[in-house]
């Protein structure tokens, strides 16, 4: 099932590409994917290209794909060291009606609207919870410039 369904998604992505998302197969199987998402406008991630590693188990789409950031990012809901991210739709609220492209859109939405209440990066979460928006933005901007805009 996973393979056939992902094959359908792959064809759909090639037919209707999203300008903010590039989704590619990593290797020969449909198990591993690489995605590159564009940092959303009017966020400190704007202009950055963030790489995501996506792993789909044989139980996909009944089980959510595993998604992590391969690009370093300063964000309350992303573990800075491991790239692990906290997103409800990838955990308890997953639905088999969603697709990898939808997941990437959800990650872009998370970059636009961080949720400081469930932080995986306490520094980023604390800045936001204390209302230091300027501090958060400048830190996030610095890491974006350093890691996500490196390729000239």
């Amino acid at each position: 099932m996973a393979r056939n369904r992902l094959n359908k998604e792959w064809q759909e992505v090639r037919r209707n590409p999203d300008p903010d998302i590039s989704l590619e197969l990593a290797g020969d199987s449909f198990e591993q994917w690489h995605a590159t998402i564009k940092g959303p406008q009017d966020s400190p991630y704007e202009g950055g290209q963030f790489k995501l590693d996506i792993v789909c188990t044989a139980n996909y789409p009944y089980a959510a794909p595993q998604v992590s950031f391969a690009t370093k990012i300063f964000h309350p809901n992303v573990n800075y060291n491991t790239g692990e991210l906290c997103l409800d739709i990838l955990k308890t609220d997953w639905s088999p009606a969603w697709t990898l492209q939808y997941v990437c859109r959800a990650v872009i939405a998370l970059l636009r609207d961080p949720n400081p209440e469930s932080p995986l990066n306490c520094d980023a979460g604390n800045l936001l919870r204390n209302g230091d928006l300027r501090g958060f933005r400048s830190m996030a901007r610095m890491y974006t410039t350093e890691h996500a805009m490196a390729v000239a």
Binding site: E12, Y62, S95, P96, A97
Partner: protein, 130 residues
Amino acid sequence: MEDKVMPEAEAPRAEIKSWNTSGLGGMGEKGEEPRFQIKKWSAIALWGWDICTDTCAICRNKLYEPSIEAQANPQLADVNGYSIAFGCCGHVFHMDCISRWLKTRSVCPLCNQEWEFAKVEKIAAFNPIG
């Protein structure tokens, strides 16, 4: 449903007194003038799908074809791969697709409401044996 062409120009003449199939468009049995004539006949057909989509959101196959699983393993597929499950929320999936998901979480994948079966139907134009 069979197609019936009813052009306006050929309005059938009907006689109410002795209504039968052969009488439609003809004269009365004794050759008397019909009591009324249909001068114009504008046929209007109304139709609609009874489901709001034609694709199963879980496997992304069309609902009038078997589920992706049944398609990939026709020898293993049971009747569930050739059936459509309607939820009380109005959403529709292949029976085997939704059954497998309900083991994880008993909600509709599209609206997140508690899943309840409204009805299950076999896929009409498909015969798994033939």
